[in-house]
């Protein structure tokens, strides 16, 4: 048994932790368990990567099976990390089409969570670039699923949180790129309305995201910096620049759990003020930035999840449909700023249509907030959830550790269909995570 948690370090759960090294060993483990789930690199924040009684660490499956440089199609084992893909194939002119805010996620995890990046509004999620997967089901079958073969299984697995079975391998399409640089343009927005308008105006940009100052109040509520980006061509690079910059190891590390009061309204307010002013000064023109700080700013700080202290933290990421989004997001931000509970990171971004049956994205705006797991935070987030549900939105399962069944059911209307597909693949309900147990497994007698 081992005590494990997600990236948010809440909750901490005791489970059997196995590291299978062959697909046969994965099958044996599933056959032997009453509730297991695959875990990639453990970057889901809450309880998605923790099995009810057994957790399968998939990191030993880190092989590339084949790669076609003519088409960018790649077949690989599910434990390969995006960081590995980027470092190996970036210099050869290929990157994943979609990357989340950290590169330290596995391909299997990226498929299971149908992760989105700064380009979701125009290019969709990770699942859109998956051609097929090899899946080991709870019933003990190994099946290849794609949009043509077993399409129901395929679409239920994109964003299915690993609950259709253990993803063993996948075939992806990679994006041809000339360089490892992004041409970035920063726009400052003085309030939420301006930020949303700037994101709307940035719809034609490949990448767009807004960083929100969550402690700004009153007329400054929702003031933001908007980052737009395009892949830079080779001709845009200055002479002598490396075509593909190296990904650096974390320059900073958080070696210990910081006292939970390190982040308070004063320290965050001071930081945000400085950050906003420096960003606003850069606003207007465009400049080149390496893909690493552009896509993965927090990967520069090792073990940054320790900054919230031993009790861990909760991330709340919702998506709100376009209609009425300004009012709802304004209400949420107002409550957050009045609460004074520092959110270290607040990100606003536009999403498009989701690609899988249970994918988080829907057309609208997504807002991501961090909170230390302390005080009356649960009640506060329940209130926020009521606003999300009333607006027809939902929460991102890869970030979730605490939403209620009713919030989940309201947000994911395909749940019934998903359960049917799962039941057909796994009649004995062997594939179960703490997340599925919390949100929708039939209650066990």
């Amino acid at each position: 048994m081992a005590l494990i948690s997600g990236w948010g370090r809440f909750p901490v759960v005791d489970t059997d932790l196995l590291t299978p090294r062959s697909f046969a060993a994965v099958g044996d483990a599933i056959a032997a368990t009453s509730g297991g789930i695959a875990r990639g690199n453990g970057r889901a924040y809450g309880d998605a990567g923790i099995g009810v009684s057994q957790t399968l660490a998939m990191t030993a499956f880190d092989r590339v099976r084949s790669f076609d440089p003519a088409t960018g199609r790649i077949r690989l084992e599910a434990g390969v990390l995006l960081s590995d893909l980027i470092e190996t194939f970036g210099p050869r002119g290929f990157l994943p089409y979609v990357v989340p805010g950290t590169r330290f996620v596995s391909v299997g995890g990226a498929i299971a969570a149908d992760v989105h990046g700064k380009n979701h509004h125009c290019e969709g999620g990770f699942g859109r670039y998956v051609d097929s997967i090899l899946l080991r089901t709870g019933a003990g079958e190994t099946i290849e699923a794609s949009r043509e073969a077993n399409p129901d299984v395929f679409l239920a697995s994109i964003g299915g949180m690993g609950l259709t079975g253990v993803i063993l391998e996948a075939t992806l399409r990679l994006r041809p790129v000339e360089t490892g640089w992004i041409r970035e343009r920063v726009i400052s927005a003085s309030d939420l309305h301006a930020a949303m308008r700037a994101l709307d105006a940035g719809d034609s940009a490949t990448y767009s995201v807004a960083w929100i100052d969550c402690v700004a109040r009153g007329s400054d509520l929702g003031r933001s910096l908007i980052y737009l980006g395009e892949h830079a061509s080779a001709s845009e690079l200055p002479d002598g620049a490396e075509t593909f910059p190296r990904g650096q190891d974390p320059r900073l590390n958080v070696p210990i759990d910081l006292p939970s009061m390190t982040l308070n309204r004063y320290s965050v307010r001071a930081f945000n003020e400085l950050y906003y002013r420096m960003g606003a000064r850069r606003a207007g023109g465009s400049h080149l930035v390496s893909i690493f700080p552009y896509f993965f700013p927090l990967d520069g700080v090792g073990a940054w999840n320790r900054i919230y202290g031993r009790r861990g933290f909760l991330q709340h990421q919702c998506v709100i449909p376009h209609e009425g989004a300004l009012g709802v997001l304004g209400d949420i931000l107002d409550r957050v700023s009045r609460r004074g509970d520092a959110s270290f990171l607040a990100v606003l971004k536009k999403l498009g249509q989701g690609d899988g049956l249970m994918s988080f994205p829907m057309p609208g705006y997504t807002l991501a907030l961090d909170f230390p797991a302390s005080g009356n935070i649960m009640n506060f987030l329940d209130e926020i959830d009521r606003l999300v549900v009333a607006a027809g939105g939902r929460l991102y399962l890869a970030k979730d550790a605490r939403q209620s069944r009713s919030t989940f059911e309201a947000g994911y209307p395909a749940l019934q269909r998903f359960k049917e597909i799962r039941a057909s693949l796994d009649p004995m309900a062997k594939i179960r995570s703490k997340l599925s147990q919390r949100l929708f497994d039939e209650v066990q007698p």
Partner: protein, 246 residues
């Protein structure tokens, strides 16, 4: 005929072996992977080829089957530029204390086999006048400890063999590297209690081995901290050391 250099990895299916093969392939070397089950090495060879576009072949090699060594060397498609032995067996100290067969297997896997095969390559390399020979030994060979002295003594023998070979080859173009990883998170150490700050991941060892070949380093402690730790452990008077239960 391509001009890429070739690295032969003995023990290619181990975590350190796979990582070492990647480190060389990443730098544009062709790789020969050798292990007891050649078929099991195929996915790793395919991985190296897909990642780096280099040539990777697989070969059957059993470190206990010393009679097969001549044939193994002769059967390689090309004499490699570098041979790296990662072969080893931790075994069970407790079993080895009672079971001579188990003790023999540990000794042969960690000393006899690796020393003999590297010795064979040394003759070929010396005749050619070039090549690097890398033996992965262990810090546990620096001083015999109660908890693993059967393994440690075999590795100590291997370290001494490498040291002597290095001295003999010093005026030739052949170079010998002794690698002493401390704790490495691998299949072999799964479930063991490792001391975090003294523990490294397999890719760090792979890169260290590649770096040692490039820089022609003699002895590599993968984590510099181990050099200090082992200096202290070696310096302890025997009367004190023998009372330590580790």
């Amino acid at each position: 005929m391509n001009s890429r250099k070739i690295a032969l990895v003995l023990g290619g299916s181990s975590d350190i072996g796979r990582a070492t093969a990647r480190s060389f392939a990443k730098a544009g070397w062709d790789v020969q992977l050798a292990g007891r089950d050649a078929a099991a090495l195929e996915p790793d060879a395919a991985d190296l080829n897909a990642r780096y576009g280099i040539g990777a072949s697989t070969h059957r090699f059993d470190v206990l089957d010393t009679a097969s060594f001549d044939g193994f060397v002769a059967g390689l498609p090309a004499l490699p530029d570098v041979v790296i032995s990662i072969v080893g067996l931790l075994g069970s100290q407790e079993t080895a204390e009672r079971d001579l067969d188990h003790a023999t297997t540990i000794m042969r896997s960690n000393y006899e086999g690796p020393a003999l095969i590297l010795g064979l390559f040394a003759e070929k390399f010396l005749a050619r006048g070039s090549g690097s020979i890398v033996g992965v030994s262990t810090v546990a060979g620096d001083r015999g400890r109660a908890s693993n002295y059967v393994y440690g003594s075999a590795k100590a023998g291997f370290s001494a063999f490498l040291s002597g070979l290095r001295a003999r080859a010093s005026r030739s173009g052949v170079h010998v590297v002794t690698v002493k990883p401390g704790f490495v998170r691998t299949k072999m150490t799964e479930g063991m209690k490792l001391i975090g700050p003294l523990t490294v991941e397999a890719p760090v060892v792979g890169d260290a081995i590649f770096g040692a070949v490039e820089r022609r380093t003699d002895v590599v402690y993968v984590s510099g901290k181990w050099r200090l730790v082992m200096f202290i452990i070696k310096a302890l008077p025997e009367a004190v050391f023998k009372k330590l239960k580790f």
